[in-house]
Symmetry: C2
């Protein structure tokens, strides 16, 4: 049994490779819900969705978000009606939000809604939201606190990051099976996702970090930072804004209290000794995932830990 | 000042012609909300929308419903997710329902939401829902009572109609300005719409029928029945199912207590004397509206009453 902590696109890419090597039924994915946002009355879960879409083979891999071949007719009309339309909402993508929101309004939990979406998409892999409670990642910029998606999509990650706040974190309980899936796994994988706003959110949910320390599973992470820069997303700005150095070593420090193995890119081999001094094994490999072969190869390295 | 009682497509076509002759600001339209339906969590107002879309020049006139050039990507995806998708929901059309539902959820009335939609579409004409209270037209078929849209769209109007029920009618109050717009008008037009499920619903709202009797306005109707058949829609089945004859005369009887003038098609000239015996003036003309010229010509006949 394998459990993976996942953010969005980077994690989804890695997991595509992993699922060429392990059975869907044996994999549980704990997804980040800190990016979840209410928009036009819908509950949108960007990270849960991109993982599900990618694993179902429906994602637009070139664009890096959304569903392949999606259109934006509804969004165009919403704009015509005078609504704020900075959040990219495809016509097909919208159906997922409609479905999820209807289930939530009927009293189902986000776990149950996510399960229904996965089943409808034909997935046998289990995707668990980290929590069913309200949890919202806010970024402090000069103008004040804004929702992560507002910082990332609307403001195009251009602001100086002065801080990060996880609204709801103190009272957010892990969703059913989250802690259990970590405790019962043989291998826990921390996907190459943003260590602060993707993995950091999951780690902040009560009991998760502790489970990672206590589990008998081997805990392996893949560095999302290669040669001092994130492969995707605003991790560098976020890390720098919070006073972290932007390096594999800095990521390793964040995970040091529970990590057994850390996989870093060949380009960062010079950091190996320094990271090992934190008390973890380090493997160097090519971590860039351009082709499916790249993804499978990286997954193989993880499984061989 | 002119006030029109309107159903869906037939009314919208007529009103397009009327607005070539009168100023938008001088026209108030009272729309049928008996077809309104909750679908996927949205409040959908089919008749209010088709009138607004048509007058804004956005309707798909050929298809007879929806927005021109609309696509159905979201609906396709909802189907893939396992939802019932018999209700035709275009991607652009959806934006109107999202906008309306958000306004209603924020506590605005259907009147206010309709106003916002009209303004956003650039309309200066006033469209009033007949009521802001719950009102639902149900059709009794052999299997029981079904929502009008279920009878009409899902079951393609194929069932024998055993009866019609207006759920909520006894307690539905007219929306603001509805009664007032009838009382203050110089001319009230009953559009060529279904006399039972489009106009009949409006007439059943407390105070509306009485206002039509009391107003000093001239009240003029255009028959939706030509040569024993409706121009559009299931009016014949509905009328027959309720024991009415399908004729201009039968429609005239439904409106007899408040109607001053009734405009019937040349093809029904033989009914003229019979209808006049109900105590109203009758004008015969070509009531078929194929071109914009047809619509304007018919509107001219109404204005000359």
């Amino acid at each position: 049994l394998i459990t993976a902590l996942a953010g969005g696109v980077g994690a989804a890419r890695f997991l595509t490779g992993l699922l060429k090597l392990v059975k869907e039924e044996d994999l549980t994915i704990i997804g980040n819900t800190g990016d979840d946002i209410e928009m036009f009355g819908f509950h949108i879960s960007p990270d849960l969705d991109i993982v599900a879409y990618t694993l179902a083979g429906l994602a637009d891999e070139k664009k890096g978000w959304g569903l392949e071949g999606d259109t934006f007719r509804c969004l165009d009309m919403l704009k015509k009606l005078g609504l704020e339309t900075w959040f990219n909402l495809g016509d097909k993508d919208l159906a997922t939000h409609i479905f999820r929101t209807e289930l939530l309004n009927k009293g189902f939990t986000l776990s149950e809604a996510t399960d229904s979406i996965c089943q409808a998409l034909g997935l046998r892999v289990k995707i668990l939201p980290m929590t069913n409670d309200r949890f919202e990642t806010r970024i402090r910029i000069e103008e004040g606190l804004v929702h992560f998606e507002e910082y990332f999509v609307k403001r195009e990650a251009k602001d100086n990051v002065l801080g990060v706040e996880f609204v709801g974190a103190p009272s957010a309980r892990p969703a059913p099976k989250v802690v259990d899936s970590i405790m019962k796994a043989k291998l826990v994988i921390i996907c190459p996702s943003n260590p602060i706003v993707s993995i950091g959110t999951i780690l902040s949910v009560d009991g998760v970090r502790n489970a990672l320390k206590q589990t008998n599973a081997k805990v392996v992470a893949i560095s999302p930072i290669v040669a001092g820069a994130p492969i995707k997303g605003p991790a560098d700005k976020l890390m720098r804004g919070l006073g972290f150095e932007v390096s594999a070593f800095a990521v390793a420090k964040i995970y040091a209290d529970f990590l057994d193995d850390f996989i870093i890119d060949d380009q960062d081999a010079s950091e190996k000794t320094q990271i090992e001094s934190l008390g973890m094994r380090v493997k160097t490999t090519n971590t860039l995932m351009k082709t499916l072969e790249d993804k499978v190869r990286l997954a193989k390295v993880v499984l061989e830990c």
